[in-house]
Amino acid sequence: MAQNARDIRRRIRSVKNTQQITKAMEMVAAAKLRRAQERVHLARPYAAKMEEVIGSIAKAGGTRHPMMVKRPVRKTGYVVITADRGLAGAYNANVIRAALQAVGEKSPDEYTILAVGRKGRDFFRKRGYPVADEITGLSDYPTYSDIRRIASAAVKMYEEEVYDELYLVYNRFINPVQQTPTVKKILPLEDVGAGGAEGRRLHYEYEPSAEEVLESLLPKYAEALIFSALLDAKASEHGARMTAMGNASDNAAEMIESLTLALNRARQAAITMQISEIVGGAEALK
């Protein structure tokens, strides 16, 4: 570490600049996280309510809709939700790894990928995975209409039997410092409403008919599931970025500290040398 003082000073300055950026990013991510969490919260009633209605229809009559029935799987669809940008720690890597694990040993014509987010799309494209559809450039606070196109495309491909099951791969938001990569099956909707058994079963009247209501309700429900996963993933992204940038700021602080120490040593060494030179010179004059 015997650098000269000027070099060390320069490095301290550069690390400080980086630290300022990471600190700013951390704070921005924290603010975005709060809003994203709020949106996750606001979006919850919609899907919950839909599940309730579908559950009561499914329970009341023996209505079997193709979207609720399991069929032999020839092809599987994966909706992989990643971020558009990096600098979020292992966020994107985790999702991609989870997706690759889910795909496993399948041959390329046994599955297809719908990529949400630039990072995932680039990864799968570059390596020649079958990407059927993609959507990038989503805002930090995506609206339902932003995701609508890919969500309805995903559901439609299931209906048209392009694939026989559909999974979502995304980072589930646990808390601001913890996100778990999750693979969740959304189609077929096998056990919708199987849970929450209500005390009193209501006998609904359906207009025009139970089948037709279900017919239009189920695709919307699947779309709502994709949308809520996206909101969850966004919250996770901001959480992951906040944590990653917090760590980076801490590391920068540590680095500055050790560099300052080295700087002081170098400075003292220089002073000591100068003194000893002066003393030596004076001694020689005697």
Partner: protein, 139 residues
């Protein structure tokens, strides 16, 4: 006066959640007037307006298609989008209307575009109508 709880929920937020006296909506098979104690019902809702009577006053909400669930004590509307007249951006709806009309005027393109343009036109007209009607009601 007895009331019934009304929730209007979209994927993004809960637009309306209050106790009301009456709800009028256009269902799949005609207009429905819902008072407290209505029998359980589920119906699809086309793009349209929902009229709400609360404390003797009428107001309305523009709905871009969805579902209506009725229970004796609770009405829930699940819609892809829903706006109170005050939230509607008139110039944006106007632009959407013109854009959709332009698309519909261009013949001979893939028919999927047609369906979408038609729906967009319906939504835009519905929003404009909501704003107009609510202005009329205030006078």
């Amino acid at each position: 006066m007895s009331t019934i709880a009304l929730d209007i929920v979209t994927p993004e937020r809960t637009v309306y959640s209050r106790s009301v006296e009456m709800v009028i909506a256009r269902g799949a098979e005609g207009d429905l007037g819902i008072l407290p104690g209505h029998m359980p019902l589920v119906t699809t809702l086309p793009i349209g307006l929902v009229h709400i009577k609360e404390e003797g006053r009428w107001s309305l909400v523009a709905i871009s298609g969805g579902f209506l669930e009725v229970r004796p004590d609770r009405v829930t509307i699940l819609a892809e989008a829903a706006e109170l007249p005050a939230e509607i951006d008139v110039s944006r709806a106007q632009r959407a209307k013109e854009r959709a009309e332009r698309r519909l005027a261009e013949k001979g393109r893939a028919d999927i575009d047609y369906v979408r343009a038609e729906l967009a036109l319906k939504r835009a007209l519905n929003r404009l109508k909501a704003v107009e009607e609510s202005k009329g009601a205030m006078r």
